[in-house]
Amino acid sequence: MSTPPATSEATRRAPIPGRTRQKAKAALIAAVIVFALVYTVFPVLWLLINSFKTRLDMFAIPPIWLVTSPTLENYYQTFVERAYLTYMANSLIVAVATTVASLVIGTMAGYALARFDYPGRMKFHLSFWILSTRMMPPIVTIVPLYLFFATLDLLNTKTALAIAYTGFNLPFVIWMMKGYFAEIPRDLEESAMVDGDTRLGALIRIVLPLAKPGMVATAIFCLILSWNELLFALIITETTSANTLPIGIAGRITQYKVEWGEISAAGFAACVPIIIFAFVVQRHLVRGLSFGAVKG
């Protein structure tokens, strides 16, 4: 019994449909990634290029892609002549305070919702109520919040901003952390408690290290939200002592002209801290730490 050699030759040369399809799929994915990259990176790049241009170059047609005579005039205007350093410090203080407060409170609440028993359907109702506070447009709360802060004598303070932002972040943080905790096997904490730890100790030493990727992702979200926020800051703050970066930047669109150079410089500078933060924490974003905890 022998197979004719011609047949095996033909089999070897025949195109393998599976592989072709795989290549096409890879190409398609690459194309989508390139498009998404251009779409998101181009505005930032344009901001960076413009921040080094003079006012004349900025409006040149065709657009100037390579700045031949870069100027630092815009940066000088922004950070030396105007109070952008103060705005930036304000933003930073508010954002960090918001992130820390949201994470501490949200983590504890999320843990409670993931682990503790509540009578009847209380857990469902409580979870839903927390989520429902995000269902209305934030602008609806501006007047009550303004009156609230006026009563507490907190208008035009960074504290007021941090409180307001924390309030808006919390539902998100609680739901995110609740999900992360629910994924961590209960056995681990119970084991820690039988080993001699308290519940709080088990939370800090066992559960939180495992929930770290979730906390980092949530922290980035909180930070970006309060860093970008304009509406509340505009209503609640008034002077340089509490104004944040978005207000400073928006303020360069004046009645008579738009200071594109300053906006570009400040806008690009505003991106930098967030990008640095994201790079610093991204190694904590790896998932899968909890694999191998229980039977594999």
């Binding site: 096997p185 056995d187 681990l188 119970e190 084991s191 820690a192 408690m193 039988v194 080993d195 001699g196 730890d197 308290t198 100790g201 066992i206 290290p209 495992l210 730490l289 909890s290 694999f291 191998g292 905890a293 229980v294 039977k295 594999g296």
Partner: protein
């Protein structure tokens, strides 16, 4: 070292009764096995000892200390979880060290204790590994080492062998038994595997639907089952059960007539016979039942012969040389002294 006592303990989860009015005395230095099918309340019983589940009614004592409202950390018990519950972000060394670290013991002492526990379970080479880099058997040993570094009054084990493959399970079983012997500790062991229960236990508590069915030595539950549930649950293959009646000093059922069984005349009786107490005989006059062979399985040390009798199947453990074709008729002999009678309605044992 101390025993554990349950006094009228009931545990409810909402409307579900997980453990119903349990009275139990686990003695000091005993290898005590809680045995039952899944959902029978055995794990809940153990978790109440550990303090992981609250007690709805009744009292639990460790030694002579009432522990109902004591946090797990004050109960001085150690537990091996079915999933092992290794801390995934810690190395093997840190995992074993954890109970000592929590107790703020000095670093030198911790190192010594960890090394000693690791050597006892042959883990000394793996101390720098992470749990995810270990095989199932190695993880199991880490979990064991983590309870060994402590000197608790009671060891709790929740189906510790169920995630291991068959060969390793048999090996670890022997090691666990040796370990308990060496340490001379009170061990409470939960399993649904009756072989584990038989091989390991000093005493076995058989639970079903939250109710204690029988508390006895392995020999006791095997040779003297208290009711139909225990009789059917213990033994592999399980006990043959035939429904019939007692008449004229014998048992009569579909296709069976067994003389020499007392207890007076009554209907609604189930007779139980273990496969190993039945024998295949050559002569029809020696046998009590005659039935066609349904299937023949060689297990190595013996042959399991299944026959069809009326609507029931009866399993006989025959000699390993047994060799008859399927569908041929065989005669089966029953030893009346090795049969068990149960009331079909109450499922309780009828003792004669």
């Amino acid at each position: 070292m101390a025993g554990v006592t349950f006094k009228n303990v009931t545990k409810r989860f909402g409307p579900v009764v997980a453990v119903d009015n349990l009275d139990l005395e686990i003695e000091d230095k005993e290898f005590f096995v809680l045995l039952g099918p899944s959902g029978c309340g055995k794990t809940t019983t153990m978790r109440m000892i550990a303090g992981l589940d609250s007690i709805t009614e009744g009292e639990v004592y460790i030694g002579d200390r009432l522990v109902n409202d004591l946090l797990p950390k004050y109960r001085d018990v150690a537990m091996v979880f079915q999933s092992y519950a290794l801390y995934p972000h810690m190395t093997v060394y840190e995992n074993i060290e954890y109970p000592l670290k929590i107790r703020k013991r000095p670093v030198d002492e911790r190192r010594q204790e960890v090394m000693r526990a690791a050597e006892k379970v042959q883990l000394a080479d793996l101390l720098d590994r992470m749990p995810r880099q270990l095989s199932g058997g190695q993880r199991q040993r880490v979990a064991l080492a983590r309870v060994l570094v402590r000197k608790p009054t009671v060891f709790l084990m929740d189906e510790p062998l169920s995630n291991l493959d068959a060969k390793l399970r048999v090996q670890m079983r022997a090691e666990l038994k040796r370990l308990q012997h060496d340490l001379a500790v009170t061990m409470v062991y939960v399993t649904h595997d009756q072989i584990e229960a038989m091989t390991l236990a000093t005493r076995v508590a058989v639970l079903n639907e939250g109710v204690l069915q029988q508390l006895a030595t392995p020999k006791g539950i095997y040779n003297d089952p208290a009711n139909l549930f225990v009789a059917g649950f213990i033994g592999s293959p399980s006990m043959n059960l035939i429904t019939g009646a007692l008449e004229n000093g014998g048992f009569t059922g579909p296709g069976v007539k067994l003389p020499g069984i007392g207890g007076g005349d009554r209907s609604g009786v189930i007779i139980g016979m273990r496969p190993e107490d039945l024998a295949v005989v050559e002569d029809a006059a020696d046998g009590h039942m005659t039935a066609p062979i349904y299937s023949v399985e060689l297990t190595g040390e013996s042959t399991l012969v299944t026959v069809r009798l009326g609507g029931e199947t009866i399993v006989v453990r025959a000699d390993k040389d047994f060799d008859r074709p399927i569908d041929s008729e065989v005669h089966i002999r029953v030893d009346p002294a090795k049969t068990y009678l149960f009331d079909a309605r109450s499922e309780q044992r009828i003792r004669v």
